[in-house]
């Protein structure tokens, strides 16, 4: 690890100011950033910790919306997001206890790892990503593998999840990393069903719109039995072929619907 400065501001404004320095980087739970620094693949001049900002931490429910502070660890979401059980369940199965006690929702969404769990929840829920300067709809936020709508120096302060009538996340774990080899989040709202898929595509998290249409008319696993998933843009690696991931998308979607 190279040397760097470290600051831990207590307000969003101080954090934004600190991030204006060239090569400064925000640090939330550090589950991706710290390992890359240890491997000398990343050389920030300054790390700006977001963990000292009280307003970024915590879960609140109001009406039909659950809001999660950007620096809230997975373990806190698992424990406190009871108003959105499928989201709490997703958080409870990310990584291991050490990861869940350090890793945060804002860190996960800002990194947008193509195999992370939270992007599927945010996209399937039609969540709103709240930053220090604006609100971004999930449909506009995710822009491909490791790419988001965030600007340089912009930080996620919170995420607003509309609570669905029913939802379920099916995660099929990559056996080594236990990231999602493929994960499917199905959320049923009064105005329709949303299906988001993580881990499968070369373009990162995506909505399976054909399934959404079919399920919006008939919310049962049978509704998607005639659909096929195009394997041409799927990830193929040591752990699974593109065709296998395409199969998982369909199988897991059906299981998520059945589990709702």
């Amino acid at each position: 690890m190279y040397n760097f400065e470290f600051v831990k501001p207590s307000s969003v404004e101080e954090a934004i100011a600190a991030l204006k320095e060239e090569d400064a980087q925000p640090l939330s739970g550090g589950q991706t950033l710290i390992p890359t620094m240890k491997q000398r693949l990343n050389q920030p001049s300054k790390l700006v910790s977001l963990l000292g900002i009280a307003e970024l931490n915590g879960v609140s429910a109001e009406g039909s919306t659950v809001t999660i502070g950007g620096a809230t660890p997975h373990a806190v979401v698992a424990a406190d997001a009871s108003a959105y059980p499928a989201l709490a369940a997703l958080a409870s199965n990310i990584g291991d206890p050490a990861v869940r006690n350090r890793g945060t929702i804002g860190g996960s969404l800002a990194n947008n790892d193509p195999a992370a769990c939270y992007p599927a929840a945010a996209l399937a829920s039609g969540a709103t990503i709240v930053t220090n300067s604006r609100e971004i709809a999930a449909d506009d936020y995710f822009q491909g593998m490791f790419t988001t709508a965030l600007d340089e120096g912009e930080i996620i302060t919170g995420v607003k999840f509309p609570v669905p009538e029913a939802a379920n996340y099916q995660k099929f774990e990559q056996p080594a990393s236990r990231f999602a080899l493929t994960g499917v989040f199905v959320a049923k709202y009064a105005d329709g069903v949303r299906v988001a898929v993580t881990g499968a595509s070369n373009d990162g998290v995506f909505r399976w719109t054909e399934a959404e249409e079919a399920l919006s008319g008939n919310f049962s696993a049978d509704a998607i039995s005639g659909l096929t998933v195009d394997a041409s843009d799927m990830i193929s690696d040591l752990h699974g072929t593109a065709e296998y991931r395409a199969n998982l998308v369909k199988v897991l979607t059906g299981r998520a619907v059945a589990a709702c």
């Binding site: 690890m1 491997q39 000398r40 099929f172 056996p175 080594a176 990393s177 080899l181 040591l238 752990h239 699974g240 072929t241 065709e243 296998y244 199969n247 998982l248 199988v251 299981r255």
Partner: protein
């Protein structure tokens, strides 16, 4: 009887320090004035190395000295401990294995330069300033491509990438081929035994130290065999005589074979400490371990079994490509030959066998012994092929095996592949496993699984292995450049306590618990009166170390022989003290008695007399009570057993769940049943890891794809079922004093074919006609096989 004697499930005394953080591992050793080394390693697999410019790095903060290959011109290469002779009678091709890359880079992870600095971070900073001038060459990764005409050569000074082409038994080849021509049925199977990374919990560490006052060197290292390292490094690499070199392997956090070998980093730290005259320490990162620890397995095989019309095996032949990696690691050539070919008979009477092995150099990390070493590769081929054969013939796989078993009355049994099994009862372990696994209830369980949408399957595998390696005169004929005896010194102190200095090395096996149990049993004192010392060449006799399930069978036997000498001498002293004839003295429960009288003296009275010899037969025996024995076994030992695995397959995802695992082993006599059970658990865990999860993979350019735990899947507790272990079927070894056989590797040998057979059974029972799936049986591979 002592409460902790042979047969007692004594809890492991060493676990107290391991579990409370009081272990003393190599990385816990920090010496005065210690420096740290960081190795600059190759990030390409194959290249011409033109120049290594260290000028600007040398001036950086904290840098003491930078070493490159030039510094090792007067130093030998890392030696190979086994020379295999090929089928034409020629010695194998044996390239130089330099400490650092000389002129060419041959695998990702090979050392190019070493920076020694005040701190590790300073060493790493400076390593980034080293400029390496190289020209990349096409990498040779696939073994068959490496053997093709015109393939790029890993070693330009060799005639090809073929290390050796070994035929065994070459004289049988024609008869084997003839038997195949006459066969009523032939089953053929091509399979891969996947490359593995051992991944002991403790990565490798080396600390070199030099004492100017007596010109002696000390190496602290994570080794399974410190004396072997002292001999190899001292005599063949650095030219340090053994009396000026001490090698210490303190607590070692798992070895699994990969800590047998002599590595460049050990020689480097010893060499650099002497050059700089300050201690030099290296602690492997996990990333370095993936690309510098010797890998395991990596065979590509074709096996064929011939049967007559009554389903008797009439002949067997195999063709194997065995990956050596870029250089020959210490015992690499022996693994696919003398630890693999000679086991090809398995538990069966097959009269004619021919094994061909082509060992191949590739631009990958060297491959050497890993838990089981050759025997898992043999067992996997045989037990997979027999299963396929049973399916082709439509017969019960258990009964096809039973029909061809060597029968109990045939022991000792000489196989057509040069070994003689001393004892065994394969029918007994098969029957025991079938009973414990409730095979008769399988159909009902399978029906229940089907209701839940799962495919259930059951797989059987038998294994035989050769361990407790071995008679030195035999292994010498086979090409070993070392003896394979073991040693022990039993030192009795004046007050009766005992220290056993063993050449065996414990790195998880529990010697500190089991060896005292044996001594306690022999003398009749409490095991707590016995302490085991191991792992330091300065205070243990020359020993060959621990691997190949040899500690109790060979090291324990040496200890027994030394203890017998001690007891014989103690009886002489006791006879003198009681004014009786030596022949009338009996030792029981720590008391010497004169048979037929009520005279007795306690063990402690005799030991005190030995060291305070006021009333002592000084004219007949020397004072003191300490004896050393070296034990060279007459044969290997041959543990065997039957493993049964039951799985469910998720048809939608291809995911395999292991539901039940049953291991019925014949380990001969058992000293500590709890430790034996733990050894089987660990071995089965590693075997299931190989069969389902672990996959060391390279891309075509020689980059390691599975270079961290993000991609290399180790088995976790949740991947394993509860394991039913039985070792009640015992046919004691006939040629060692304890009648023990060795249990360390069995689990890893027998479990992969049992699991793969179970998955294929699940598929074939449920309408998926699949002949074979290569390990690891990942969900993707299983699903793909079902949906071809």
């Amino acid at each position: 009887m002592p409460k902790d004697g042979i047969g007692a499930s004594t809890k492991r005394r060493e676990d107290i320090r391991f579990l409370t953080g009081k272990g003393r591992y190599t990385d816990d050793i920090n010496l005065n004035g210690q420096l740290y080394v960081h190795f600059l390693r190759a990030d390409v697999a194959h290249a011409t190395l033109n120049a290594v410019d260290t000028a600007s790095a040398q001036d950086m903060q904290g840098v003491v000295r930078i070493f490159t290959a030039k510094d090792f011109e007067a130093v030998g290469g890392l030696p190979c401990g086994w020379q295999v002779t090929d089928k034409h009678g020629n010695p194998m091709q044996e390239p130089k294995h330099p400490i650092m890359a000389e002129g060419k880079i041959r695998h990702v992870g090979e050392i190019i330069a070493a920076v020694v600095a005040d701190s590790l971070e300073e060493a790493r900073d400076a390593a980034e300033a080293i400029v390496v001038d190289y020209d990349e060459l096409p990498a040779v990764i696939d073994m068959k491509a490496a053997c093709a005409d015109g393939a790029p050569k890993v070693h330009d000074d060799l005639t090809s990438n073929l290390c050796y082409d070994w035929g065994f038994v070459e004289e049988n080849k024609a008869a084997v081929d003839e038997a195949f021509e006459k066969a009523a049925h032939v089953t053929t199977l091509e399979l891969v035994n996947n490359r593995l990374v051992a991944n002991p919990m403790e990565p490798r560490v080396a600390v070199g130290d030099y004492a100017p006052h007596d010109d002696s060197s000390t190496l602290y290292t994570t080794s399974q065999n410190p004396h072997v390292i002292r001999l190899l490094m001292g005599a063949f690499v650095l030219g340090i005589p053994e009396h000026k070199l001490r090698v210490v392997a303190p607590d070692v956090g798992g070895g699994f074979g990969t800590k047998i070998f002599h590595y460049a980093e050990e020689a480097f730290c010893t060499f650099a400490a002497k050059q700089i005259k300050r201690p030099v320490k290296w602690t492997s990162s996990r990333s370095e371990a993936f690309m510098s620890d010797a890998h395991g397995r990596d065979h590509v095989s074709k096996i064929q079994i011939a049967l007559d019309a009554d389903n008797n095996f009439t002949a067997l032949r195999t063709d194997t490509y065995a990956n050596m990696g870029a250089y020959l690691s210490t015992f690499a050539p022996s693994v696919p030959t003398w630890l693999h070919g000679v086991l090809m008979a398995g538990n069966y009477r097959t009269p004619l066998i021919y094994v061909n092995v082509k060992a191949v150099f590739t631009n990958t990390v060297p491959v050497d012994a890993y838990r089981g070493a050759g025997r898992p590769e043999a067992t996997y081929q045989l037990e997979r092929c027999i299963d396929k054969c049973a399916r082709e013939l439509g017969v019960d796989p258990a009964e096809l095996r039973r029909q061809n078993f060597i029968t109990p009355d045939q022991f000792p049994y000489a196989t057509p592949v040069a070994v003689e099994y001393d004892t065994g009862n394969y029918h007994a372990t098969l029957d025991k496993a079938l009973e414990l696994a409730d095979v008769t209830g399988f159909d009902a369980r399978a029906a229940e699984s089907k209701k839940n949408g799962k495919l259930r399957g059951l797989g059987i595998a038998n294994y035989i292995e050769a361990c407790g390696i071995a008679p030195s005169n035999l292994v010498g004929q086979l090409g070993a450049r070392a003896g394979l005896y073991e040693s022990a010194t039993v030192r009795v102190n004046a007050t009766g306590g005992i220290v056993v200095m063993t050449g065996s090395h414990s790195h998880g096996q529990g010697h500190e618990t089991t060896f005292p149990q044996v001594i306690a049993d022999m003398i009749g004192i409490d095991a707590s009166q016995v302490e085991i010392v191991h792992g330091d060449t300065a205070n243990t006799p020359m020993g060959m170390g621990t691997y190949g399930s040899r500690s109790l069978a060979v090291g324990g036997s040496a200890m027994v022989r030394a203890a017998e000498k001690v007891i014989n001498k103690a009886k002489k002293i006791a006879a003198h003290l009681m004014e009786a004839s030596e022949g009338d003295i009996e030792l029981k429960d720590g008391q010497f008695t004169v048979s037929g009288t009520d005279k007795s003296v306690a063990w402690g009275d005799v030991t005190l007399a030995a060291y305070v010899p006021h009333n002592y037969p000084l004219d007949q025996i020397e004072p003191g009570l300490e004896e050393t024995a070296f034990y060279d076994p007459a044969n290997f030992t041959y543990p065997s057993g039957t493993y049964i695995c039951e799985v469910e397959v998720d048809e939608g995802t291809g995911k395999v769940e292991v539901l039940n695992f049953t291991a019925a082993d014949d380990f001969g006599n058992v000293v500590n049943p709890m430790i034996v059970e733990g050894q089987v658990h660990g071995g089965v865990g590693q075997g299931i890891g190989q069969a389902m999860l672990e996959n060391c993979a390279y891309d075509a350019d020689g980059q390691l794809l599975s270079a961290s735990y993000m991609d290399y899947a180790m088995p976790r507790a949740s991947d394993l079922p509860m394991i039913t272990v039985d070792h009640s079927c015992q046919t004691p070894c006939t040629h060692n004093p304890l009648g023990v056989k060795g249990c360390g590797e069995a689990g890893a040998i027998g479990s992969p074919p049992a699991l793969v057979n179970a998955v294929l059974d699940a598929l074939n029972r449920n309408g998926h006609a699949v002949d074979h799936i290569d390990m690891p049986l990942s969900p993707s591979r299983v699903w793909t096989a079902m949906n071809q």
